[in-house]
Protein backbone atom coordinates (compact mmCIF):
# COMPACT_ATOMS: atom_id res chain seq x y z
CA UNK A 1 0.00 0.00 0.00
CA UNK A 2 1.23 3.44 -0.83
CA UNK A 3 2.34 5.79 1.80
CA UNK A 4 1.39 9.46 1.61
CA UNK A 5 3.35 11.97 3.61
CA UNK A 6 1.80 14.94 5.41
CA UNK A 7 3.72 17.92 6.77
CA UNK A 8 2.20 18.40 10.23
CA UNK A 9 2.35 22.15 10.51
CA UNK A 10 2.50 23.39 14.07
CA UNK A 11 2.75 26.73 15.81
CA UNK A 12 3.34 27.29 19.50
CA UNK A 13 3.28 23.55 20.05
CA UNK A 14 -0.22 23.28 18.61
CA UNK A 15 -1.25 21.53 15.40
CA UNK A 16 -2.79 23.95 12.89
CA UNK A 17 -6.56 23.69 12.50
CA UNK A 18 -6.44 22.76 8.81
CA UNK A 19 -4.04 19.81 9.22
CA UNK A 20 -6.72 17.15 9.90
CA UNK A 21 -8.36 18.05 6.59
CA UNK A 22 -5.06 17.45 4.79
CA UNK A 23 -4.65 14.14 6.59
CA UNK A 24 -8.06 13.11 5.31
CA UNK A 25 -6.97 14.02 1.80
CA UNK A 26 -3.77 12.04 2.16
CA UNK A 27 -5.69 9.06 3.48
CA UNK A 28 -7.41 8.81 0.10
CA UNK A 29 -4.06 7.74 -1.33
CA UNK A 30 -2.79 5.32 1.23
CA UNK A 31 -1.29 5.15 4.67
CA UNK A 32 -0.54 8.49 6.14
CA UNK A 33 2.94 9.29 7.40
CA UNK A 34 3.16 12.54 9.30
CA UNK A 35 6.33 14.65 9.49
CA UNK A 36 6.92 16.89 12.48
CA UNK A 37 9.58 19.58 12.59
CA UNK A 38 9.34 20.84 16.14
CA UNK A 39 10.54 17.65 17.83
CA UNK A 40 7.24 17.01 19.63
CA UNK A 41 5.98 13.95 17.74
CA UNK A 42 5.30 12.11 20.99
CA UNK A 43 2.99 14.86 22.16
CA UNK A 44 0.97 14.83 18.93
CA UNK A 45 0.79 11.15 18.09
CA UNK A 46 -2.44 10.31 19.88
CA UNK A 47 -4.19 13.37 18.57
CA UNK A 48 -3.09 12.59 15.03
CA UNK A 49 -3.83 8.92 15.36
CA UNK A 50 -7.45 9.87 15.81
CA UNK A 51 -7.42 11.39 12.33
CA UNK A 52 -5.69 8.45 10.67
CA UNK A 53 -1.96 9.05 10.83
CA UNK A 54 -0.19 5.68 11.18
CA UNK A 55 3.41 6.83 11.50
CA UNK A 56 4.58 10.12 12.93
CA UNK A 57 8.15 11.04 12.11
CA UNK A 58 10.17 13.33 14.35
CA UNK A 59 12.65 15.01 12.00
CA UNK A 60 15.78 16.30 13.72
CA UNK A 61 19.10 17.64 12.53
CA UNK A 62 21.35 17.93 15.55
CA UNK A 63 20.89 21.22 17.35
CA UNK A 64 19.17 22.91 14.38
CA UNK A 65 15.89 24.63 15.13
CA UNK A 66 13.85 24.14 11.95
CA UNK A 67 11.50 27.01 12.73
CA UNK A 68 14.47 29.31 12.29
CA UNK A 69 16.02 27.57 9.29
CA UNK A 70 13.51 27.02 6.48
CA UNK A 71 16.10 25.75 3.98
CA UNK A 72 17.15 23.08 6.44
CA UNK A 73 13.52 22.24 7.15
CA UNK A 74 12.93 21.73 3.43
CA UNK A 75 15.96 19.48 3.16
CA UNK A 76 14.87 17.51 6.21
CA UNK A 77 11.43 16.96 4.72
CA UNK A 78 13.04 15.78 1.52
CA UNK A 79 15.13 13.31 3.48
CA UNK A 80 12.06 12.11 5.33
CA UNK A 81 10.14 11.63 2.10
CA UNK A 82 12.95 9.55 0.66
CA UNK A 83 13.59 7.60 3.83
CA UNK A 84 9.95 6.59 4.28
CA UNK A 85 9.27 6.06 0.59
CA UNK A 86 6.14 8.21 0.49
CA UNK A 87 4.79 8.74 -3.01
CA UNK A 88 3.43 12.19 -2.25
CA UNK A 89 3.98 14.91 0.33
CA UNK A 90 0.92 16.99 1.27
CA UNK A 91 0.62 19.96 3.53
CA UNK A 92 -1.56 22.94 4.40
CA UNK A 93 -1.22 25.69 1.80
CA UNK A 94 -0.52 28.37 4.38
CA UNK A 95 2.31 30.91 3.99
CA UNK A 96 4.62 28.75 6.15
CA UNK A 97 3.36 25.50 4.62
CA UNK A 98 3.82 26.74 1.06
CA UNK A 99 7.37 27.80 1.80
CA UNK A 100 8.37 24.46 3.34
CA UNK A 101 6.64 22.39 0.67
CA UNK A 102 8.31 24.42 -2.08
CA UNK A 103 11.74 23.99 -0.55
CA UNK A 104 11.15 20.27 -0.13
CA UNK A 105 9.93 19.95 -3.73
CA UNK A 106 13.01 21.72 -5.06
CA UNK A 107 15.27 19.48 -2.96
CA UNK A 108 13.43 16.43 -4.29
CA UNK A 109 13.25 17.80 -7.84
CA UNK A 110 9.61 16.82 -7.55
CA UNK A 111 6.53 18.34 -9.24
CA UNK A 112 4.82 20.87 -7.01
CA UNK A 113 1.29 22.28 -6.90
CA UNK A 114 0.08 24.63 -4.18
CA UNK A 115 -3.34 25.82 -3.03
CA UNK A 116 -5.02 22.73 -4.43
CA UNK A 117 -8.65 22.03 -3.74
CA UNK A 118 -8.61 18.40 -4.81
CA UNK A 119 -6.20 15.51 -5.25
CA UNK A 120 -6.64 12.29 -7.25
CA UNK A 121 -4.02 9.73 -6.32
CA UNK A 122 -5.22 7.23 -8.88
CA UNK A 123 -4.76 9.60 -11.78
CA UNK A 124 -1.91 11.55 -10.14
CA UNK A 125 -3.72 14.80 -10.72
CA UNK A 126 -4.60 17.80 -8.61
CA UNK A 127 -7.13 20.57 -9.09
CA UNK A 128 -6.46 24.20 -8.31
CA UNK A 129 -7.69 27.67 -9.11
CA UNK A 130 -6.46 29.56 -12.14
CA UNK A 131 -7.24 33.20 -12.99
CA UNK A 132 -8.14 34.24 -9.43
CA UNK A 133 -10.89 31.68 -9.10
CA UNK A 134 -12.44 32.08 -12.55
CA UNK A 135 -11.29 28.62 -13.65
CA UNK A 136 -10.23 25.30 -12.18
CA UNK A 137 -7.18 23.66 -13.71
CA UNK A 138 -6.46 19.96 -13.51
CA UNK A 139 -2.71 19.42 -13.35
CA UNK A 140 -0.94 16.16 -13.99
CA UNK A 141 1.87 15.48 -11.54
CA UNK A 142 4.44 13.52 -13.52
CA UNK A 143 6.87 11.78 -11.27
CA UNK A 144 7.03 10.30 -7.85
CA UNK A 145 7.01 11.66 -5.28
CA UNK A 146 4.99 14.80 -5.95
CA UNK A 147 4.39 17.65 -3.53
CA UNK A 148 1.00 19.24 -3.00
CA UNK A 149 -0.31 22.01 -0.78
CA UNK A 150 -4.01 21.83 0.12
CA UNK A 151 -6.22 24.92 0.52
CA UNK A 152 -7.71 25.00 4.05
CA UNK A 153 -11.21 23.57 4.40
CA UNK A 154 -11.07 21.71 1.10
CA UNK A 155 -11.38 18.37 2.84
CA UNK A 156 -13.39 17.35 5.88
CA UNK A 157 -11.35 15.83 8.70
CA UNK A 158 -12.07 12.10 8.87
CA UNK A 159 -12.89 10.04 11.90
CA UNK A 160 -10.35 7.36 11.05
CA UNK A 161 -8.83 6.45 14.34
CA UNK A 162 -5.84 4.18 14.20
CA UNK A 163 -2.72 3.45 16.14
CA UNK A 164 0.02 5.96 15.55
CA UNK A 165 3.67 5.14 16.11
CA UNK A 166 6.18 7.91 16.65
CA UNK A 167 9.49 7.45 14.89
CA UNK A 168 12.67 9.45 14.95
CA UNK A 169 14.67 10.40 11.90
CA UNK A 170 17.91 12.25 12.39
CA UNK A 171 19.27 13.85 9.24
CA UNK A 172 22.48 15.66 8.42
CA UNK A 173 21.99 19.05 6.85
CA UNK A 174 24.79 21.02 5.37
CA UNK A 175 25.17 24.48 4.04
CA UNK A 176 21.74 25.83 4.87
CA UNK A 177 22.88 29.09 6.42
CA UNK A 178 21.70 31.51 3.82
CA UNK A 179 18.13 31.99 5.06
CA UNK A 180 17.58 32.54 8.75
CA UNK A 181 14.33 33.42 10.48
CA UNK A 182 15.39 35.83 13.14
CA UNK A 183 12.11 36.93 14.66
CA UNK A 184 8.39 36.36 14.70
CA UNK A 185 6.23 39.40 15.34
CA UNK A 186 2.73 38.56 16.47
CA UNK A 187 -0.18 40.37 14.87
CA UNK A 188 -2.31 42.89 16.71
CA UNK A 189 -5.06 42.03 19.16
CA UNK A 190 -5.74 38.34 18.67
CA UNK A 191 -6.75 38.59 15.02
CA UNK A 192 -8.02 35.16 14.09
CA UNK A 193 -6.96 33.69 10.82
CA UNK A 194 -9.44 34.24 8.01
CA UNK A 195 -7.83 31.82 5.58
CA UNK A 196 -8.51 28.85 7.84
CA UNK A 197 -11.87 29.95 9.14
CA UNK A 198 -14.82 27.66 8.56
CA UNK A 199 -17.37 30.39 9.07
CA UNK A 200 -16.86 34.01 8.14
CA UNK A 201 -19.14 37.00 8.59
CA UNK A 202 -18.05 40.11 6.67
CA UNK A 203 -19.07 43.73 6.73
CA UNK A 204 -19.06 46.22 3.89
CA UNK A 205 -19.15 50.02 3.66
CA UNK A 206 -22.67 50.33 5.13
CA UNK A 207 -21.16 49.29 8.47
CA UNK A 208 -20.46 52.99 8.78
CA UNK A 209 -17.81 52.83 11.50
CA UNK A 210 -15.23 50.62 13.17
CA UNK A 211 -17.37 50.52 16.30
CA UNK A 212 -20.30 49.03 14.42
CA UNK A 213 -18.24 45.96 13.69
CA UNK A 214 -19.01 44.84 17.25
CA UNK A 215 -22.43 43.85 15.91
CA UNK A 216 -20.64 41.36 13.68
CA UNK A 217 -18.34 40.29 16.53
CA UNK A 218 -21.38 39.34 18.60
CA UNK A 219 -22.80 37.24 15.78
CA UNK A 220 -19.39 35.72 15.03
CA UNK A 221 -19.11 34.60 18.61
CA UNK A 222 -22.31 32.57 18.29
CA UNK A 223 -21.12 31.06 15.00
CA UNK A 224 -17.50 30.47 16.02
CA UNK A 225 -16.78 32.62 13.05
CA UNK A 226 -14.05 35.05 12.09
CA UNK A 227 -15.03 38.59 11.09
CA UNK A 228 -13.91 39.84 7.70
CA UNK A 229 -14.38 43.04 5.74
CA UNK A 230 -14.66 44.31 2.19
CA UNK A 231 -12.06 46.57 0.65
CA UNK A 232 -14.46 49.51 0.85
CA UNK A 233 -14.80 49.05 4.59
CA UNK A 234 -11.04 48.77 5.01
CA UNK A 235 -10.37 51.82 2.84
CA UNK A 236 -12.89 53.79 4.88
CA UNK A 237 -10.99 52.87 8.02
CA UNK A 238 -13.72 50.69 9.55
CA UNK A 239 -11.59 47.54 9.56
CA UNK A 240 -7.94 46.52 9.53
CA UNK A 241 -6.34 45.43 6.28
CA UNK A 242 -5.72 41.98 7.78
CA UNK A 243 -9.50 41.54 7.78
CA UNK A 244 -9.90 42.24 4.10
CA UNK A 245 -11.35 39.44 2.03
CA UNK A 246 -10.86 39.64 -1.70
CA UNK A 247 -8.49 39.66 -4.59
CA UNK A 248 -6.15 42.11 -2.87
CA UNK A 249 -6.85 40.75 0.59
CA UNK A 250 -7.24 37.20 1.81
CA UNK A 251 -8.51 34.27 -0.20
CA UNK A 252 -10.88 32.34 2.04
CA UNK A 253 -12.66 29.04 1.72
CA UNK A 254 -15.21 28.74 4.52
CA UNK A 255 -18.21 26.49 4.75
CA UNK A 256 -20.40 29.48 5.43
CA UNK A 257 -19.87 33.06 4.31
CA UNK A 258 -22.27 35.76 5.45
CA UNK A 259 -21.90 39.09 3.66
CA UNK A 260 -23.49 42.09 5.41
CA UNK A 261 -23.95 45.21 3.34
CA UNK A 262 -21.69 43.90 0.61
CA UNK A 263 -22.55 44.89 -2.92
CA UNK A 264 -20.89 41.82 -4.40
CA UNK A 265 -18.00 43.32 -6.32
CA UNK A 266 -15.99 41.08 -8.61
CA UNK A 267 -12.84 41.74 -6.62
CA UNK A 268 -14.43 40.72 -3.36
CA UNK A 269 -15.94 37.63 -4.89
CA UNK A 270 -12.58 36.47 -6.16
CA UNK A 271 -11.63 36.07 -2.52
CA UNK A 272 -14.58 33.99 -1.30
CA UNK A 273 -16.40 32.44 -4.24
CA UNK A 274 -15.35 28.91 -3.27
CA UNK A 275 -17.34 29.18 -0.03
CA UNK A 276 -19.77 26.31 0.31
CA UNK A 277 -22.74 28.46 1.28
CA UNK A 278 -23.01 32.21 0.72
CA UNK A 279 -25.63 34.31 2.49
CA UNK A 280 -26.16 37.97 1.60
CA UNK A 281 -27.82 40.64 3.72
CA UNK A 282 -28.46 43.91 1.89
CA UNK A 283 -31.11 46.62 1.76
CA UNK A 284 -30.97 46.91 -2.05
CA UNK A 285 -32.89 44.11 -3.71
CA UNK A 286 -31.01 44.78 -6.94
CA UNK A 287 -27.54 44.46 -5.38
CA UNK A 288 -25.37 42.18 -7.57
CA UNK A 289 -24.48 40.03 -4.56
CA UNK A 290 -27.94 38.45 -4.59
CA UNK A 291 -27.28 36.99 -8.01
CA UNK A 292 -24.15 35.31 -6.70
CA UNK A 293 -25.33 34.00 -3.33
CA UNK A 294 -27.22 30.95 -2.19
CA UNK A 295 -29.51 32.73 0.25
CA UNK A 296 -30.43 36.33 0.78
CA UNK A 297 -32.27 38.55 3.21
CA UNK A 298 -33.36 41.98 1.96
CA UNK A 299 -33.07 44.18 4.98
CA UNK A 300 -30.96 46.51 7.05
CA UNK A 301 -27.99 44.66 8.53
CA UNK A 302 -28.39 46.68 11.70
CA UNK A 303 -31.75 44.93 12.18
CA UNK A 304 -30.96 41.56 10.65
CA UNK A 305 -27.60 40.77 12.24
CA UNK A 306 -28.68 41.35 15.85
CA UNK A 307 -31.82 39.33 15.12
CA UNK A 308 -29.62 36.56 13.74
CA UNK A 309 -27.43 36.68 16.85
CA UNK A 310 -30.53 36.35 19.01
CA UNK A 311 -31.83 33.41 16.97
CA UNK A 312 -28.46 31.65 17.19
CA UNK A 313 -28.38 32.17 20.95
CA UNK A 314 -31.62 30.19 21.16
CA UNK A 315 -29.77 27.17 19.79
CA UNK A 316 -27.37 27.05 22.71
Amino acid sequence: MSKIGVLIETADQTIKTSVPGVIAAAALGGEVVGFVLDGLADTYKDQLGAFGVTELVNLTAGELVFSKAPEAAGQALACGVKAFGVTALLGVSSPVGNDLLARAAVALKAPLALDCIDVDFAKNTVKKSHFSGKAIATLEMVGSPFVCGIRPNSFEPADAACACTAKDLAVTIEGCEAVKITKITAAGSGQKDLTEAMVIISGGRPMGSADNFTILDACAEKLSAVVGASRAAVDAGYAAHTMQVGQTGKIVNPKLYIGCGLSGSVQHFAGMKTSKVIVAINTDKDAPIFSKSDYGIIGDLFDVVPALTKELAKLE
Binding site: P95, T125, F131, M141, T185, A187, I278, K292, A307, L308
Partner: protein, 255 residues
Protein backbone atom coordinates in the same frame (compact mmCIF):
# COMPACT_ATOMS: atom_id res chain seq x y z
CA UNK B 1 24.57 47.30 -9.31
CA UNK B 2 22.37 45.03 -11.40
CA UNK B 3 18.93 44.00 -10.27
CA UNK B 4 16.78 41.64 -12.31
CA UNK B 5 13.01 41.73 -12.18
CA UNK B 6 11.04 38.80 -13.52
CA UNK B 7 7.84 39.99 -15.13
CA UNK B 8 5.01 37.83 -16.41
CA UNK B 9 2.56 38.98 -19.11
CA UNK B 10 -0.83 37.94 -17.77
CA UNK B 11 -4.53 38.63 -18.43
CA UNK B 12 -5.91 41.55 -16.42
CA UNK B 13 -7.72 40.13 -13.40
CA UNK B 14 -10.79 42.12 -14.42
CA UNK B 15 -10.95 40.36 -17.78
CA UNK B 16 -13.43 37.62 -18.51
CA UNK B 17 -11.59 34.40 -19.34
CA UNK B 18 -13.19 32.37 -22.09
CA UNK B 19 -11.85 28.85 -22.15
CA UNK B 20 -11.49 27.55 -25.69
CA UNK B 21 -10.44 23.94 -26.01
CA UNK B 22 -9.11 21.76 -23.24
CA UNK B 23 -6.32 23.84 -21.85
CA UNK B 24 -6.54 26.98 -23.93
CA UNK B 25 -8.23 30.31 -23.43
CA UNK B 26 -9.09 33.24 -25.67
CA UNK B 27 -6.10 35.54 -25.39
CA UNK B 28 -7.91 38.48 -27.00
CA UNK B 29 -8.32 40.07 -23.59
CA UNK B 30 -6.36 42.86 -21.98
CA UNK B 31 -2.95 41.69 -20.75
CA UNK B 32 -0.93 43.49 -18.09
CA UNK B 33 2.28 42.94 -16.13
CA UNK B 34 1.56 40.51 -13.27
CA UNK B 35 0.52 42.81 -10.41
CA UNK B 36 2.77 41.06 -7.85
CA UNK B 37 5.76 41.52 -10.18
CA UNK B 38 5.17 45.27 -10.18
CA UNK B 39 6.05 45.43 -6.48
CA UNK B 40 9.38 43.86 -7.37
CA UNK B 41 9.85 46.32 -10.22
CA UNK B 42 9.14 49.31 -7.99
CA UNK B 43 11.51 48.02 -5.30
CA UNK B 44 14.31 47.40 -7.78
CA UNK B 45 13.97 50.84 -9.34
CA UNK B 46 13.93 52.51 -5.91
CA UNK B 47 17.07 50.65 -4.84
CA UNK B 48 18.97 51.68 -7.97
CA UNK B 49 17.74 55.28 -7.60
CA UNK B 50 18.94 55.33 -4.00
CA UNK B 51 22.29 53.85 -4.95
CA UNK B 52 22.71 56.49 -7.64
CA UNK B 53 24.04 53.93 -10.10
CA UNK B 54 23.21 50.57 -11.60
CA UNK B 55 20.58 49.10 -13.86
CA UNK B 56 17.32 47.23 -13.55
CA UNK B 57 16.82 44.55 -16.19
CA UNK B 58 13.39 43.01 -16.78
CA UNK B 59 13.15 39.38 -17.84
CA UNK B 60 10.04 37.83 -19.29
CA UNK B 61 9.04 34.47 -20.71
CA UNK B 62 6.00 35.09 -22.85
CA UNK B 63 4.53 35.59 -26.30
CA UNK B 64 5.24 38.43 -28.72
CA UNK B 65 2.58 40.58 -27.06
CA UNK B 66 4.61 40.56 -23.85
CA UNK B 67 6.58 43.53 -25.17
CA UNK B 68 3.65 45.67 -23.99
CA UNK B 69 4.14 44.60 -20.39
CA UNK B 70 7.86 45.18 -20.75
CA UNK B 71 7.21 48.70 -22.09
CA UNK B 72 4.97 49.28 -19.06
CA UNK B 73 7.64 48.35 -16.57
CA UNK B 74 10.27 50.25 -18.54
CA UNK B 75 7.98 53.29 -18.29
CA UNK B 76 8.25 52.86 -14.52
CA UNK B 77 12.03 53.03 -14.84
CA UNK B 78 13.38 49.60 -15.78
CA UNK B 79 16.39 50.23 -18.02
CA UNK B 80 16.18 47.37 -20.49
CA UNK B 81 14.47 44.03 -21.02
CA UNK B 82 14.95 40.52 -22.27
CA UNK B 83 12.02 38.58 -23.71
CA UNK B 84 12.22 34.83 -24.13
CA UNK B 85 9.45 34.09 -26.58
CA UNK B 86 7.05 31.20 -26.35
CA UNK B 87 3.48 30.82 -27.54
CA UNK B 88 2.63 28.36 -24.76
CA UNK B 89 -0.15 29.85 -22.64
CA UNK B 90 0.98 27.84 -19.61
CA UNK B 91 4.73 27.16 -19.89
CA UNK B 92 5.77 24.86 -17.02
CA UNK B 93 7.40 26.67 -14.11
CA UNK B 94 10.62 24.66 -14.20
CA UNK B 95 11.09 25.47 -17.89
CA UNK B 96 10.45 29.14 -17.20
CA UNK B 97 12.91 29.12 -14.32
CA UNK B 98 15.60 27.59 -16.51
CA UNK B 99 14.97 30.14 -19.25
CA UNK B 100 15.19 33.02 -16.77
CA UNK B 101 18.41 31.55 -15.35
CA UNK B 102 19.87 31.29 -18.85
CA UNK B 103 19.02 34.91 -19.55
CA UNK B 104 20.69 36.01 -16.31
CA UNK B 105 23.71 33.96 -17.21
CA UNK B 106 23.92 35.80 -20.53
CA UNK B 107 23.24 39.28 -19.24
CA UNK B 108 25.57 39.32 -16.28
CA UNK B 109 25.75 38.60 -12.57
CA UNK B 110 22.87 39.68 -10.37
CA UNK B 111 23.05 41.61 -7.14
CA UNK B 112 19.40 40.90 -6.46
CA UNK B 113 16.54 39.20 -8.30
CA UNK B 114 12.86 40.00 -7.78
CA UNK B 115 9.88 37.95 -8.82
CA UNK B 116 6.28 38.29 -7.80
CA UNK B 117 4.99 36.00 -5.07
CA UNK B 118 2.75 34.30 -7.65
CA UNK B 119 1.25 34.94 -11.04
CA UNK B 120 -2.44 35.73 -11.31
CA UNK B 121 -3.02 33.29 -14.17
CA UNK B 122 -1.47 29.93 -13.24
CA UNK B 123 -0.87 30.85 -9.56
CA UNK B 124 2.03 28.38 -9.36
CA UNK B 125 3.80 30.20 -6.49
CA UNK B 126 7.03 28.37 -7.24
CA UNK B 127 9.03 30.12 -9.95
CA UNK B 128 11.08 32.04 -7.38
CA UNK B 129 12.13 28.79 -5.68
CA UNK B 130 12.98 27.05 -8.95
CA UNK B 131 14.92 30.03 -10.24
CA UNK B 132 16.86 30.30 -6.99
CA UNK B 133 17.70 26.62 -7.21
CA UNK B 134 18.93 27.01 -10.80
CA UNK B 135 21.22 29.82 -9.78
CA UNK B 136 22.28 28.32 -6.46
CA UNK B 137 20.96 31.34 -4.60
CA UNK B 138 18.86 31.61 -1.43
CA UNK B 139 15.21 32.61 -1.73
CA UNK B 140 12.44 34.15 0.36
CA UNK B 141 8.96 34.96 -0.90
CA UNK B 142 5.92 36.91 0.22
CA UNK B 143 8.25 39.79 1.06
CA UNK B 144 6.54 42.91 2.49
CA UNK B 145 9.54 44.85 3.76
CA UNK B 146 13.15 44.92 2.62
CA UNK B 147 16.27 46.50 4.04
CA UNK B 148 19.60 45.85 2.37
CA UNK B 149 22.57 45.45 4.63
CA UNK B 150 26.15 44.37 3.95
CA UNK B 151 25.76 41.08 2.13
CA UNK B 152 22.34 40.45 3.64
CA UNK B 153 18.76 41.29 2.85
CA UNK B 154 16.59 41.71 5.95
CA UNK B 155 13.05 40.95 4.86
CA UNK B 156 9.68 40.43 6.48
CA UNK B 157 6.98 38.12 5.22
CA UNK B 158 3.41 37.73 6.42
CA UNK B 159 2.37 34.44 7.93
CA UNK B 160 -0.88 33.46 9.58
CA UNK B 161 -3.31 35.85 11.18
CA UNK B 162 -1.25 38.91 10.31
CA UNK B 163 1.90 37.79 12.13
CA UNK B 164 5.24 38.44 10.46
CA UNK B 165 8.51 36.55 10.13
CA UNK B 166 11.74 38.49 9.88
CA UNK B 167 14.40 36.75 7.82
CA UNK B 168 18.04 37.43 7.08
CA UNK B 169 18.87 36.26 3.57
CA UNK B 170 22.40 36.42 2.21
CA UNK B 171 22.72 38.34 -1.04
CA UNK B 172 22.62 37.87 -3.95
CA UNK B 173 19.25 36.19 -3.52
CA UNK B 174 15.83 35.80 -5.10
CA UNK B 175 12.95 37.64 -3.45
CA UNK B 176 9.26 37.13 -4.21
CA UNK B 177 7.53 40.50 -3.77
CA UNK B 178 3.95 40.98 -2.69
CA UNK B 179 1.46 43.70 -1.85
CA UNK B 180 2.61 45.95 0.93
CA UNK B 181 6.26 46.12 -0.10
CA UNK B 182 5.73 49.50 -1.76
CA UNK B 183 3.35 51.51 -3.94
CA UNK B 184 4.21 50.91 -7.59
CA UNK B 185 4.67 54.32 -9.19
CA UNK B 186 2.33 55.78 -11.77
CA UNK B 187 4.55 56.45 -14.79
CA UNK B 188 4.97 60.02 -15.97
CA UNK B 189 4.39 60.74 -19.64
CA UNK B 190 8.03 61.56 -20.51
CA UNK B 191 9.03 58.17 -19.04
CA UNK B 192 6.31 56.43 -21.07
CA UNK B 193 7.61 58.06 -24.24
CA UNK B 194 11.21 57.23 -23.39
CA UNK B 195 10.30 53.62 -22.69
CA UNK B 196 9.22 53.21 -26.30
CA UNK B 197 12.87 53.48 -27.28
CA UNK B 198 14.41 51.30 -24.57
CA UNK B 199 16.00 47.99 -25.54
CA UNK B 200 14.08 44.71 -25.60
CA UNK B 201 16.33 41.82 -26.48
CA UNK B 202 14.22 39.02 -27.94
CA UNK B 203 15.09 35.34 -28.21
CA UNK B 204 13.13 32.17 -28.81
CA UNK B 205 12.67 29.72 -25.96
CA UNK B 206 13.38 26.89 -28.33
CA UNK B 207 16.67 28.45 -29.37
CA UNK B 208 17.92 28.38 -25.78
CA UNK B 209 18.13 24.59 -25.89
CA UNK B 210 17.21 23.98 -22.34
CA UNK B 211 15.61 20.82 -21.17
CA UNK B 212 13.32 20.68 -18.24
CA UNK B 213 11.52 17.74 -16.76
CA UNK B 214 8.18 19.63 -17.04
CA UNK B 215 6.83 17.49 -14.31
CA UNK B 216 3.71 19.52 -13.64
CA UNK B 217 1.54 19.78 -16.71
CA UNK B 218 -1.84 21.35 -17.20
CA UNK B 219 -4.32 18.75 -18.34
CA UNK B 220 -7.58 20.65 -18.52
CA UNK B 221 -9.15 23.96 -17.68
CA UNK B 222 -12.78 24.36 -16.66
CA UNK B 223 -14.71 27.51 -15.96
CA UNK B 224 -16.09 27.79 -12.45
CA UNK B 225 -19.84 27.54 -12.44
CA UNK B 226 -21.28 30.74 -11.09
CA UNK B 227 -24.03 30.53 -8.55
CA UNK B 228 -27.41 31.64 -9.86
CA UNK B 229 -29.90 33.79 -8.06
CA UNK B 230 -30.12 33.61 -4.31
CA UNK B 231 -33.16 32.24 -2.59
CA UNK B 232 -34.56 35.31 -0.88
CA UNK B 233 -35.96 34.63 2.57
CA UNK B 234 -38.94 36.90 3.07
CA UNK B 235 -41.18 37.93 5.90
CA UNK B 236 -40.33 40.02 8.92
CA UNK B 237 -36.76 40.24 10.13
CA UNK B 238 -37.47 37.65 12.80
CA UNK B 239 -39.12 35.28 10.34
CA UNK B 240 -36.40 35.51 7.70
CA UNK B 241 -33.66 35.07 10.28
CA UNK B 242 -35.38 32.04 11.80
CA UNK B 243 -35.80 30.52 8.36
CA UNK B 244 -32.13 31.14 7.58
CA UNK B 245 -30.87 29.51 10.76
CA UNK B 246 -33.10 26.51 10.12
CA UNK B 247 -31.79 26.09 6.57
CA UNK B 248 -28.16 26.51 7.56
CA UNK B 249 -28.52 24.03 10.38
CA UNK B 250 -30.72 21.32 8.91
CA UNK B 251 -30.28 21.52 5.16
CA UNK B 252 -26.83 22.91 4.51
CA UNK B 253 -25.45 21.62 7.80
CA UNK B 254 -22.89 24.38 8.06
CA UNK B 255 -23.67 25.46 11.62
Amino acid sequence: MRIYVCVKHVPDTAANIKITDGTGYDSKVKFVPNPYDEYGVEEAISLVEKAGEGEVVALCVGDAGAVNSLRSVMAMGVHRSVLVKTDDQFPPSDLVAKALAKAIEQEGPADLIFTGKQSVDSEGMQTSYLLASELGLPVATGVVTLVLDEGTAIVQREIDGGARETLAVTTPCVLGATKGLNEPRFPKLPAILKAKKKEIKEMDLAALSITAAETCRIQSLEPVQERSNAKILGGTTEESVAALVKILREEEKVI
